[in-house]
Each structure stands twice: as structure tokens, then as C-alpha cells.
């Protein structure tokens, strides 16, 4: 298997204990029954939630427990509104549940020992997640070693004189200040400026 999810062991009861697995009251039980009769919409919602959990390589029993909790909560939310879309509500709820539990989205890191890779044991984005959604991307871990720390250097083209004969002739016949004739400060400053610009831009190339 190319990707292995690090999930809490099934024996870890703390995970289960924090997942809402029981209906709160008798009306909720009726709602679940109603939802079960609700046809394709809730079936799709169930399938979607289970599929998402499966893609995270969540162990089957744990996935079922989470899905159950998610669907129950989704049903309760749908009771409150008339225009409820089961799949959408279930997926939003799934993200809420995952954010609340230790199965935080950022701990789904599927590419090996997360702590070793990120160099930290602390959940990097804990507390930054927005309610009901995935964490804001700005809060994503920035320490994934995709590239090493930058050690910035300069690499600029040097001056290349492709036509040395022409430059020689141009130099030979160019106007030069005669000896003893004072050069105005303005001209000197301009030449210095041009010179510095040329050296940083790498010449005419």
C-alpha cells in the first residue's frame, strides 16, 4: 500500500468516547428512522462520507463509527432547516467531527512519520481551523521539507562584448575630455550612475 494513514489504534477508546454514537432523545430516533426512509439523498450522503473516510485509509470499524456520528449530527442539523441538502450537510459535519477529534485534518498526513517529517510533535495548525471547514490554507504547515532553507545568492550575466572590433573603434574615436579641461560634476555623476547600472544589469549583453 503506497500511503499509510497513521490513525489512533482501534483500542484507543478515547477516540470512540468522543464520537457521538447515541441518539440524544426519542425525537432524534424518529428522525433517524425518517432519514433512513428518506431515500437516495441520505444514502448518497452516507456513501460520500464513507468514501471520504476510506480515502483517508481509515480503519473500517473506526470509519463506520465516525460515519454514524456524522450522519446523526447531520440529521439533527437538517431538522432545523427546510432546505437541507443531506450530502452537503453530511460533508460539512464530517469536517467538523474530524476537526473536533484527534483525527484532525492536518494529522491525516499520509506520507510517513509526520512528526519526523515536519520536525515537530505539536499539531501545526491547531486552533487555526475555521468552524465547519478545512483549516484556512494560510495556516497550513510551512515546514514540509520540500526545499531546504534558502541561501540566496547573486547570479547575473557578466558583460559580454560580442563585437570587440566595433567596441575598440568606438572607444578609439569616442569623445574624450582633453587633458587639463575640467569635467563638469554633472557629467561625472551621470557616467558613474551609468557605470553602476551597467555592472548590476550585466551590461548590454
Amino acid at each position: 500500500m503506497p500511503f499509510c494513514l497513521e490513525v489512533p489504534a482501534l483500542e484507543n477508546k478515547s477516540v470512540f468516547s468522543r464520537i457521538d454514537t447515541a441518539p440524544a432523545n426519542s425525537s432524534a430516533v424518529e428522525s433517524y428512522a425518517g432519514a433512513a426512509d428518506g431515500g437516495d439523498d441520505w444514502q448518497n450522503a452516507r456513501d460520500r462520507v464513507l468514501l471520504y473516510l476510506r480515502l483517508l485509509d481509515t480503519p473500517p470499524i473506526l470509519a463506520l463509527s465516525i460515519a454514524l456520528a456524522v450522519l446523526r449530527r447531520a440529521v439533527r442539523q437538517c431538522e432545523k432547516s427546510n432546505d437541507c441538502l443531506p450530502t452537503k450537510t453530511a460533508m460539512l459535519t464530517l469536517r467538523e467531527v474530524l476537526s473536533e477529534q484527534t483525527l484532525h485534518p492536518d494529522s491525516w498526513w499520509p506520507f510517513g512519520d509526520r512528526d519526523k517529517i515536519f520536525g515537530t510533535t505539536a499539531p501545526t495548525i491547531a486552533g487555526n481551523e475555521t468552524a465547519g471547514g478545512l483549516p484556512e490554507p494560510a495556516a497550513l504547515p510551512n515546514s514540509l521539507p520540500v526545499t531546504p532553507p534558502i541561501a540566496r545568492g547573486r547570479m547575473l550575466p557578466e558583460f559580454i562584448d560580442r563585437k570587440p572590433v566595433r567596441s575598440f573603434l568606438a572607444k578609439l574615436f569616442s569623445r574624450r575630455p582633453k587633458a587639463g579641461r575640467p569635467v563638469s560634476k554633472k557629467n561625472t555623476a551621470g557616467a558613474a550612475k551609468r557605470g553602476s547600472r551597467r555592472s548590476t544589469a550585466g551590461g548590454p549583453g
Binding site: I117, P137, A151
Partner: protein, 698 residues
């Protein structure tokens, strides 16, 4: 500008050797051209014949460079001693300080992800087994513009890192604007991380090197502090198509001799071929940044063939550039089909033609000026050959149609008799053939009698047959290449520039449609040319058949030579075998194993691995990875933010088919948009989820 103006120990010898080469080329050319003039009916006295002799002289000089280089290489290899070799057995690698770090760079551009990472992994494993891994870091420098390839590369990088525990050792960088193509990609690395490393080994996407070779390169650079670039002579391996296998065979048999000959003339003024070489980063950053040529492409703009120019600039700054021709364990792949090879040649042709504009640059060493000229001549020679054939045809037709002038305008005692001496013509043909084919014979002799490694090429009979078949094969393909190279030079001179296409890294073959589309012009030309000559001067027609037949057959030749099945058939017959096929080195064995390993994971959600963009949107793991690789969310102008919101809506409701590649890339570079799209797709009703995004729950 120059680092060390002092003369180096090898420079005097290099001057002597180059004078010798020039004398040898000029003398053989003069003799052959004189002969050519005598062969012509008017002894080279007409304008047309003078032009013919001039073209012949240029072409003969060109082929005699190769001849003398190979001959010298043969002598060096037979002697088994070269006092100027860079690869002296010297001290051990434990002399190298721990702080010396080397980066292995693999620039990629929309290439086969599986092949790129298999090559990288083979090199990584080889370095690990040689115990040298700690000194090296790996960088995959992606310029990929295809959004699917981009995501696929990221997933492959993460998977490779996880499997070899390579996080913090293997890095991945995706560059958004592809300024200056490969050279810009390398320069971008240098600016960001160059200061952290003393050396970099530049790979191509199909390069593989053994760990011991990399360690040896590092040691040689440490022991030769004046060397700026050390180039290896990579062996072409790993292809199955017929044309690639023939090239592999030619490269393996004739390559070492030619490389030894090149080393003899070049010494510390060698070429850099753009990959499979180690480079000292500090002088490279200081002196080898490429300028932009004034004017527009093809002859202006960014320099396409950056490698020759970088070597020349490195040398101009006083650093040496050497060819480590005896070093094994450096591999590359040949283009799988004739069309792929020609596409690559088109790019190289433009780059080499650009070099002509740098020919007179102040400070460039004469040897590098000669290399610029030599590179350009690789393509210009094609058009010279084409012109020569055309002039010969005109001469032959003129002989057949026009009445000979026995008494020219100026008074002479005797009439001018046009003389045609077939014996001389055959002698000239034989001597040209000798110049072209003797190097092949010498390689044969060297492997047979000196190396005594004929069993590594399939045994005496098969090796002999392979050499013979290679000669026939190269003779057949030479006119086709000539015609295309002539066209390339012509188009470049007309101002048509070339695009940047990914080089195929798999044996995909050529379809008949592609072949006819590419070759129909040449086939038609050859048919018309042949018909005219056959009608007017039949005796000359037979002289032209070695050119005309391959041109007429170019489409079938292109298709058949690009077939992997045919190449494998030749291999099962024991033809075109190379030692790397008979006893593959560990790096190539592991490369093959990685490539042939079936993908363990089934495509999740019915999405193929190659559908990178859809995976990044839908698959929570790939989505997570891509978001983690992206830099932090950037603030963007409200207009851009609004456009991206619209894009998310468009994608969420319409599916991936509604988006262009640039729109997909825009979503991929914006973490917030991608995250939002991921949520919306998963929340979408079944008709969009399964219909538009074609996600199938297993």
C-alpha cells in the same frame, strides 16, 4: 575577469596538438579537393565546378575532423596511457571534508514522471549502497507546465521520499514562470540554494549515474581546484526501439574512441554537454549567467544551447573544463524515434546557430570559438551537402543537355575536351568512404583485439554483423537527417523559431500518419529529383541512388525504426547488443525494476494517476499534499480574487473538462481556491460528483 592569467601545464601541449589537427585537416582536404577538381569534366575550370570544389572542400574538412579525432582516440586507447587525463588514481575519498556538499539537480519539463523518479531512485540507491549518500542532496527542479504532470510529480516525490526515507534529502521545486528554460531553472537553483553547496551535478530527466562515479567526480573536483566543469561521457542505454538500439550500439562502440580523441585536442578547453557533469557552483554563479542576445528568436533572445556557452564563459574566467572520458557509470537515453531525434535536433540547431553570434566575443578562448563553429557546422554541413548534391545534379544535367564548348572565348591552341574519368571518381569515393568508415573499423579492431570484450557484444559473429548492420543503417538515415537539418537551418535563417516541447522518455513509436506528415515533402522531392535525373542522365542517377532511395523510403523507415518490437527482435537475434544489456550494472537493473514494477495502488475513485489535477481536487491525500507544498496564501488584488472565485464555481459545477490548462494552473497555485473547490466537489450532488467529475466509488 580572469581568475588565473598564468599559463597552465597543459596549455602549451594543447596548442601543439591543435596545430597538428589543423595541419592534418587542411592537408587531407587539399589533397582530396585537388582530386575532386580533377575528377570533374572541366577540371574545375568552370564557375559551377569551382563552386562544387569549394563545397566539397568544406564537407571533406568537416568529416576529416571526425576521422582524425577518432584515429587519435584509437591510438590513445591502444596505448592505454594518457599523461593529461583528469582521472588519475589519486587519494581516497575520505580526504574530502564533511562540509563539502553536492547537489544533484534533475530539471524536468513535462516528462514521464515514472521515468524521472525511477532514474532518481536508481541513482539514490546506488549512492546509498556506495556509502556516499551523506555528501549529496537531490533536487527535482520542475518547469512542468502541464497541471496534471505537476501534481503527479508532487505525489511521486512524496512517495519516493516516504519509501526511501528521503525527506530532507530529496527536494522538489516547481517553478511557475519558465524563464530561460533549463538554464534558467539551474540558475534559479543557484540563486536560491547555490551558496549551500560547493558542487552540483546536473542531470537530464533521463540521466542515471552510479554512486561510485558520483563519488569519483566529487573527488576529482576536490583534487583539481582549477577545474570548473568536469564532464562525463554518458552512455546511451535503456531503449528498445530499433533506431535507439542502433544509436546505443554506435555510442557504446565508437563513443569511447571519439571521446578519447576529443580529450586529446581539447584538454582543459573541453565542452559541457548540459548534463551528466559536475560543476563548481561558485564560479558558475559568478561567471556563467547567460546573457540575452539582442533581437528576437530564433537568432536572438534566450540562448537555447546553454551548455557550450557556459563552458566558454567558465573557461573565459580562467577555470578549466575537462572531459573525464574514461569514467564509466554515466548513462542517458537516446530519442526513441527518428522524429523525436529530429525534434531535438531542431532545438539544438537553433541553439548552435545562436552561438555564431558569440563567435567573436571578447575573452572567449580560441578553442571554444572553434567549438561554437563546430556545433553550428553540425547543421550547416547538412545544407552544404544538400547544395553540393544539387550542384552535382546541375552539372550532370548540364553535361547531358548542353553542347560542350570545345573552343572557349579566349584563343587556345587545343580544344577543351570534357574528361570524365570514372576510375578517379571511384578512387575519390573510396577515400571519402575510408574517412567516414575507418573509425568504425578501428573501434571494431580495438574491441576485438585490445579490449577482448567481444563477448560483451554478443560474440564475434554477432558483433561483426551488428557493425555491418549499423553501417547500413547509418548510411540509410544520413540523407534523411541531411534533408531535415537543411530545412532547420533554412527555417532558422528565415526567422522561424522553435517551441519548447517535452522530450518523450518512452518507446511510444511513430504512427504512419505522423511519418507521412513529416516525410512527405522529402519523399516527393526525391521522387521528382530521381525522375528528372533518370530521364536526362541515367549514369548519374545510379550515383544518386544512395541518397534517393532512403529519402523515398523515409516514412516506412521512420515507422519501422521506431518500433520497440523490432528492436527487441534484433536483440533476441543478438544484434546491437551492448555490455550494459548483457551484464547490466546495478543502477540500470534497479532502474528497470522500478520501471517495470506494477503500480501497487489501484486508481482511487477511478481517477488515473496521470489525471493530476483531478486528483489534487478530489483525493483528500493528494489535495493535502499539494496544499502543504504550496507556499502560504498570498494576498492578491480583488480582481484576481474575484476571478478565482468564479473559476472555483465554474470548476465545481462544470467539472475539469470546463477548464483550460492555464485555469487549472491558476487554481493549483492558489491554496484557498483549491481548498474551496475540494470542499465544493465533495459536497456536490451525485450528478456533478459522478457525472462531471467522473468519480466512481469502488
Amino acid at each position: 575577469m580572469n581568475r588565473k592569467p598564468i599559463k597552465k601545464f597543459w596549455e602549451k601541449e594543447a596548442v601543439r596538438r591543435r596545430i597538428l589537427l589543423t595541419v592534418l585537416i587542411l592537408s587531407t582536404t587539399a589533397v582530396a579537393s585537388g582530386f575532386m577538381a580533377n575528377v570533374l569534366p572541366h577540371m574545375g575550370r568552370t564557375g559551377l565546378e569551382i563552386a562544387l570544389v569549394i563545397f566539397f572542400a568544406m564537407l571533406f574538412a568537416w568529416i576529416s575532423i571526425g576521422f582524425w579525432t577518432s584515429l587519435v582516440g584509437f591510438l590513445i586507447l591502444m596505448r592505454r596511457y594518457n599523461r593529461f587525463t583528469i582521472n588519475w588514481p589519486s587519494s581516497k575519498d575520505d580526504d574530502i571534508q564533511e562540509s563539502v556538499r553536492t547537489a544533484i539537480l534533475m530539471p524536468v519539463y513535462n516528462e514521464s514522471v515514472k521515468r524521472v523518479f525511477a532514474g532518481l531512485r536508481a541513482t539514490y540507491a546506488s549512492l546509498a549502497s556506495s556509502g556516499q549518500l551523506a555528501r549529496f542532496d537531490f533536487f527535482v527542479l520542475s518547469d512542468s507546465t502541464n497541471p496534471d504532470r505537476w501534481v503527479e510529480e508532487e505525489a511521486a516525490w512524496a512517495e519516493l521520499c516516504r519509501e526511501v526515507d528521503g525527506f530532507g534529502k530529496i527536494y522538489y521545486r516547481h517553478r511557475r514562470p519558465n524563464i530561460k528554460r533549463k538554464s534558467g531553472n539551474i540558475a534559479d537553483f543557484c540563486r536560491r540554494w547555490g551558496r549551500s553547496y560547493r558542487y552540483m551535478v546536473v542531470f537530464d530527466a533521463d540521466s542515471v549515474m552510479s554512486g561510485s562515479t558520483l563519488a569519483r567526480l566529487l573527488l576529482l573536483m576536490e583534487k583539481n581546484p582549477d577545474v570548473g566543469i568536469l564532464q562525463t561521457a554518458p552512455m546511451a542505454v535503456g531503449r528498445d526501439t530499433l533506431i535507439a538500439r542502433v544509436q546505443q550500439f554506435a555510442n557504446r562502440v565508437y563513443g569511447p574512441m571519439f571521446a578519447a580523441g576529443l580529450h586529446y585536442w581539447q584538454l582543459g578547453d573541453a565542452q559541457y554537454w548540459g548534463h551528466n557533469a559536475i560543476i563548481r557552483i561558485e564560479p558558475f554563479m559568478k561567471h556563467c549567467a547567460l546573457p540575452q542576445l539582442p533581437g528576437k528568436p530564433p537568432l536572438g533572445g534566450h540562448i537555447l544551447s546553454h551548455d557550450f556557452v557556459e563552458a566558454a564563459l567558465m573557461r573565459r574566467a580562467g577555470w578549466e573544463v575537462w572531459l573525464a572520458y574514461e569514467l564509466n557509470g554515466s548513462y542517458e537515453e537516446a530519442p526513441p524515434t527518428l522524429l523525436d531525434g529530429l525534434t531535438r535536433d531542431r532545438r539544438w540547431c537553433q541553439g548552435n546557430m545562436q552561438h555564431l553570434r558569440l563567435l567573436l566575443t571578447r575573452g572567449i578562448f580560441p578553442a571554444h570559438r572553434a567549438l561554437f563553429l563546430n556545433g553550428a557546422m553540425s547543421y550547416i554541413s547538412a545544407i552544404l551537402w544538400f547544395m553540393f548534391l544539387n550542384l552535382s545534379t546541375v552539372e550532370a544535367l548540364a553535361q547531358a543537355i548542353l553542347e560542350p564548348k570545345y573552343f572557349p572565348a579566349q584563343r587556345t591552341l587545343f580544344p577543351h575536351w570534357p574528361v570524365w574519368n570514372p576510375g578517379w571518381a571511384l578512387t575519390l569515393l573510396a577515400s571519402t568512404g575510408l574517412i567516414l568508415f575507418l573509425p568504425k573499423l578501428l573501434s571494431y579492431v580495438f574491441i576485438l583485439f585490445k579490449q577482448r570484450q567481444v563477448k560483451n557484444y554478443g560474440g564475434f559473429t554477432r558483433f561483426t554483423l551488428s557493425i555491418g548492420a549499423e553501417v547500413i543503417f547509418s548510411t540509410f538515415f544520413a540523407p534523411i537527417r541531411m534533408l531535415f537539418h537543411s530545412k532547420f537551418v533554412f527555417l532558422i535563417l528565415l526567422g522561424q523559431k522553435v517551441g519548447w516541447h517535452a522530450q518523450p522518455r518512452e518507446d511510444r513509436g511513430t504512427t504512419w500518419g505522423e511519418a507521412f506528415r513529416f516525410h512527405y515533402g522529402g519523399m516527393l522531392l526525391a521522387l521528382i529529383w530521381g525522375a528528372i535525373v533518370f530521364t536526362i542522365n541515367r549514369s548519374f542517377f545510379w550515383w544518386l541512388t544512395p541518397i534517393l532511395i532512403p529519402l523515398v523510403l523515409s516514412a516506412p523507415l521512420s515507422v519501422w525504426s521506431g518500433r520497440a518490437g523490432l528492436g527487441r527482435g534484433f536483440r533476441s537475434c543478438g544484434l546491437f547488443l551492448i555490455p550494459e544489456e548483457i551484464a547490466p550494472p546495478p543502477e540500470l537493473t534497479s532502474l528497470k525494476a522500478y520501471l517495470s514494477k506494477p503500480d501497487p495502488s489501484k486508481p482511487s475513485l477511478g481517477i488515473a494517476k496521470s489525471a493530476g489535477f483531478v486528483r489534487a481536487v478530489v483525493d483528500p491525500k493528494v489535495n493535502r499534499l499539494h496544499l502543504a507544498i504550496q507556499r502560504q496564501q498570498r494576498r492578491v488584488a480583488p480582481k484576481i480574487a474575484a476571478r478565482r472565485r468564479q473559476l472555483v464555481q465554474k470548476a465545481a459545477s462544470g467539472g475539469p473538462d470546463e477548464l483550460s490548462d492555464s485555469e487549472k494552473k491558476e487554481l493549483l497555485i492558489d491554496p484557498a481556491s483549491l481548498s474551496r473547490l475540494h470542499e465544493q466537489v465533495w459536497e456536490s450532488p451525485a450528478e456533478i460528483f459522478s457525472g462531471r467529475w467522473r468519480i466512481s466509488a469502488p
